[in-house]
Structures are given as structure tokens and as C-alpha cells.
């Protein structure tokens, strides 16, 4: 099974082409206009895939929409299935949390255990997140967060996401976050 994976939830996007459980091509880009050309070049090198996986966030709505729509166009042309997969699963490590700026004084937080989301990513205010920092071990930030530094900035990558098959869904729509107030106890 050949899979092409598009991950575009942050300012640095990536593509991966896998054949079975082997990655045979990766490409990273940092301008949104580069996604389509990079994808075209990858498919010229590797031929057509059998399925498409697209990162669905959380992250930049515009980036996610461009990725999902590109995947839809490609799938219509090649008659392929599109799977969505939460972008935050696109790290090598099996256990970690991901935080990202969600504007208006909030961050989203997603916690991953054994390569899977513990729960759907949640939105919490900065200060609440700061109070709970001691509950987290490894935190990746997908970009800078005003007023919160000290986290390694690290973005999800398509070459990891493509193997999170257990978390593939039929929906390619971005994860639209809902406000949620959580107590410390709920965050492992």
C-alpha cells in the first residue's frame, strides 16, 4: 500500500511517501505556495499513491484547509480515499504533549500516550495552562506562544503521521477546537 501524507498545520509543512511500512520520500517546505509544487514533484518521482493521509490539526486553519482541499482534488482525480489524522500525532516519540497558540489568550493542548491521543485536544486559557505545567513531562510547542517560552519548538512531520494508522478517520476537515475548562486532574 502506497501512501502520500500531507502535513500543513504549522508554518513548516511536510510531505511523506510511504510504501508499506517504509518511508521512501520526504520533503519539507516553508511557504504555503510550495505545497502543490512539492506534491507534484513527489508524485513525479514516486508515481501515484493508493491512498492519501492529511493532517487535520489542531493548527493553522488556512494551512489545514489548503492541505485538505489539495488532498480532495487529488483524490477526485485519482479516485483515492482521503484519511484525516490529527497532526499532533506527527512526532517520533510515543509519549508527549503538544501545545499551540490558539489566539485570544488560549492555547490548545493535546496529550499523546502510546502514539495515540489521550483525548481530543482541548482549549485552555494561558494562565490555567501555566498553573498546570508541572503535570507535563515532555512538551512540544508547534510555534511561539506569546508570554510562554522555554518549550522546544518542534512541528509535526508527515513521515511520522503516515504511520499513525489507528488514528486515521474518514473526515479530512480541520479539528475545530471547542472551549473547554479542565481541572488539573484531567491532564495526565
Amino acid at each position: 500500500m502506497k501512501t502520500v501524507c500531507i502535513e500543513n498545520s504549522t508554518a513548516s509543512g511536510s510531505l511523506a511517501f510511504a510504501d508499506g511500512n517504509q518511508i521512501i520520500d520526504v520533503f519539507e517546505f516553508s511557504r504555503s505556495g510550495a505545497l502543490a509544487v512539492s506534491l507534484q514533484n513527489m508524485l513525479k518521482r514516486q508515481g501515484s499513491p493508493d491512498q492519501i493521509v492529511v493532517g487535520i490539526g489542531p493548527g493553522s486553519y488556512s494551512g489545514l484547509r489548503v492541505a485538505a482541499a489539495t488532498a480532495l482534488g487529488l483524490s477526485a482525480a485519482l479516485n483515492l480515499k482521503v484519511h484525516g489524522c490529527p497532526s499532533v500525532l506527527g512526532y517520533e516519540a510515543p509519549e508527549y504533549s503538544v501545545v499551540g497558540d490558539a489566539r485570544r489568550g488560549t492555547v490548545f493542548v493535546a496529550t499523546v500516550r502510546n502514539y495515540k491521543l489521550v483525548s481530543m485536544p482541548i482549549l485552555i486559557p494561558y494562565d490555567e495552562f501555566q498553573q498546570q505545567l508541572s503535570n507535563f513531562e515532555l512538551i512540544y510547542a508547534i510555534g511561539t506562544i506569546p508570554g510562554l517560552d522555554g518549550f522546544p519548538i518542534s512541528v509535526p512531520k508527515a513521515q511520522n503521521l503516515v504511520f499513525r494508522t489507528e488514528s486515521f478517520t474518514d473526515s479530512y476537515e480541520p479539528l475545530y477546537l471547542k472551549e473547554a475548562h479542565v481541572t488539573g486532574a484531567k491532564i495526565p
Partner: protein, 331 residues
């Protein structure tokens, strides 16, 4: 050999549209999924909701369009690049690129206004020629001198409200629903266009610009003093003021720029009074007229496909690196 086939996607505002056109006239399909009911409850288009809906509808509408054709028959893929709402544009534009990549066909991004401007030539055997184009919609009112394909000179435009916007705002003053254009036109049919004297904005300005906000204000000031059955006369008088300025400036622009054809396109060009008056004035002035087919006037992908066909024919192709542009310039 059959003529080239172009597939086009249009998502510049709140309509998700896909069309497939073979040659200049064989429209193999033209599908529009409207969101107007979703947005009506908010009193306008909400960009975030429009974008979510475009993405949700894109898959089904593409699949439905592709049932009408063999994929390998598509020679070129196009999508509206701008102007419009960025969050809406980027969905259709990216879907078009994905399709072009999968089909291994050229991609061309089309200016929405070029789609309007060329639409009066839809279905003709030859390519669009030198003409003076009036584009009148809910968001635009402009006179564009079409010199050649891709060579357009902006001759004049509105300094405030677009003509369609004026119809919509006056309708709102009268407590009528959106969009106001068609309703005002219907009421105007039985009204007296000379009953109220409304200003002809910028008619003597010496240039080709328009202004409709004074007209709207005049209606607003007059309204409280009116009693009884005034609606039809008011609509007829308002419409006459809009139409007179549009028609006279269009004819004058055509003469000034030595264009022997005048065209009209965009949502407001559905207006029968505008069509009739333009035809009469043009014939008096010895000019030919081309009116956009009403089916091509509101947002649709057929007009985008037509513009893309012309560009494809001339090898004026786009590239996959260009991005959707909410302020994409045509001139």
C-alpha cells in the same frame, strides 16, 4: 479532434461551484451549492462559516461533476484566484491544484472579474474582442476596456457603493429581504419612474467613475415623508436613476475609447430595465451590445471555465506556486 475541455472551480464568496466546459459553448455541467440560507440568518456572509462549508461541499460537488465526464477528457483545470474572501478562495484554489496534479494537466488561476467581463462572449464561435465592459454586481461596479485577452484597462469604477449594493441597501430601507435587486425590479414594473426625482450621481463628473451612496441617502431622507402606496413608484424612480447613470457612462466610455461593442455582466445585469435601456442607447449610438446570459451573472463556475478556456487556447497558463489572492488585480 474535439475541442479542449476545461474544468473550473469557483469559491470566491459563499457559493461552491464547479463547471466543465468543452470548447466555447458546450457546458457539460455547471453545479452550484449555495449557502445563502446559512448566511441569511446572520445578515451577511460570515467568512469562517463560508470556508467550512466550501470544504465540506467540495468533495461531493467535485464527485458529482465528474460523473458527467471522463476524467481523461479534461485538458485543463482552473479555479478562481481572486478577488474575494481569502478563506473561501483558498479552498477552491487548492482543490483545483490537487485535481491538476492528479490529472497531470495544466492549472490556470482566473480572476473572478475576468470571468464576469468575458461572460457576455460565452458560447460564441470566436474569442472575445475589443469592447467596453460594464461589470455590475453586489461588490463591484466598473467599466473595463477589453483590449485583448488579459489586457484590460480600468476606465472607471464606483467611489462608494456598488450598484448591486445600492439595490440591496434601498431594499433594506423598505423592509424587503436580501438580495434586493430582483424584488426592487419586480416592484418597479408597475411604478412611475418619474414620480420622484433622484440624483444622478456623478453623471456630469467628466470621468467614468460612479457614486451611488448619495442616491441611497436621498431615498432614506424621502422615505419618512411618504404615505400610502408609494413603493412601486419609489422603486421605479430609484431604478431609473441607477440605470440612467450606468447606461450613459457606458456609452460615453465606449465612444471615448473607440470600442464598437459594449457588454454588461454581473448580478445587476439581470435587470431588464438596464438591459433594455443599454440596448436602446447602444443602437442609437451605432454600437453593438452583448449581454451576459442571466445564468452566467451570479457567481458560477461556467464563466470561470470560459475565461480559462480562452487562456488555455492561447497558452496563457498559470503555475502551481501562485496563491489565492483576495485582492487579485485584473488590470
Amino acid at each position: 479532434m474535439s475541442e479542449p475541455t476545461v474544468l473550473a472551480i469557483e469559491t470566491s464568496c459563499d457559493e461552491t461551484a464547479v463547471a466543465v466546459l468543452q470548447g466555447r459553448s458546450r457546458l457539460l455541467c455547471s453545479e452550484v451549492a449555495s449557502q445563502i440560507d446559512v448566511h441569511r440568518s446572520y445578515g451577511g456572509v460570515v467568512p469562517e462559516i463560508a470556508s467550512r462549508n466550501h470544504l465540506a461541499k467540495m468533495g461531493p460537488i467535485l464527485r458529482s461533476a465528474l460523473t458527467h465526464i471522463q476524467l481523461r477528457e479534461v485538458d485543463c483545470v482552473s479555479a478562481t484566484r481572486g478577488p474575494g474572501l481569502l478563506t473561501s478562495l483558498l479552498v477552491g484554489y487548492a482543490a483545483g491544484k490537487g485535481l491538476a496534479i492528479g490529472l497531470d494537466r495544466p492549472f490556470v488561476g482566473i480572476n473572478h472579474l475576468e470571468g464576469h467581463l468575458l461572460s457576455p462572449f460565452f458560447g460564441e464561435a470566436a474569442c472575445p474582442v475589443q469592447s467596453m465592459g460594464l461589470i455590475v454586481s453586489g461588490g463591484h461596479t466598473m467599466l473595463m476596456h477589453l483590449v485583448d485577452l488579459g489586457k484590460y484597462i480600468l476606465v472607471g469604477q464606483t467611489r462608494d457603493d456598488a450598484a448591486g449594493e445600492a439595490f440591496d441597501k434601498v431594499a433594506r430601507l423598505l423592509g424587503l429581504p436580501y438580495p434586493g435587486g430582483p424584488i426592487i425590479e419586480r416592484l418597479a414594473e408597475s411604478g412611475d419612474p418619474d414620480r420622484y426625482k433622484f440624483p444622478r450621481g456623478m453623471l456630469a463628473s467628466g470621468d467614468f467613475d460612479f457614486s451611488f451612496s448619495g442616491l441611497k441617502t436621498a431615498v432614506r431622507y424621502l422615505l419618512p415623508s411618504l404615505r400610502g402606496d408609494f413603493e412601486a413608484d419609489l422603486c421605479a424612480s430609484f431604478q431609473a436613476a441607477v440605470v440612467e447613470v450606468l447606461v450613459r457612462k457606458t456609452i460615453k466610455a465606449a465612444k471615448t475609447f473607440k470600442a464598437s461593442i459594449v457588454t454588461v455582466s454581473g448580478g445587476v445585469s439581470c435587470n431588464q430595465s438596464l438591459r433594455k435601456n443599454l440596448v436602446e442607447a447602444a443602437s442609437k449610438a451605432g454600437l453593438a451590445v452583448k449581454l451576459a446570459d442571466p445564468k452566467l451573472t451570479t457567481d458560477n463556475a461556467a464563466m470561470i471555465a470560459f475565461a480559462a478556456f480562452e487562456r488555455y487556447q492561447r497558452g496563457m497558463l498559470g503555475n502551481l506556486e501562485d496563491e489565492a489572492d483576495p485582492n487579485f488585480k485584473i488590470h
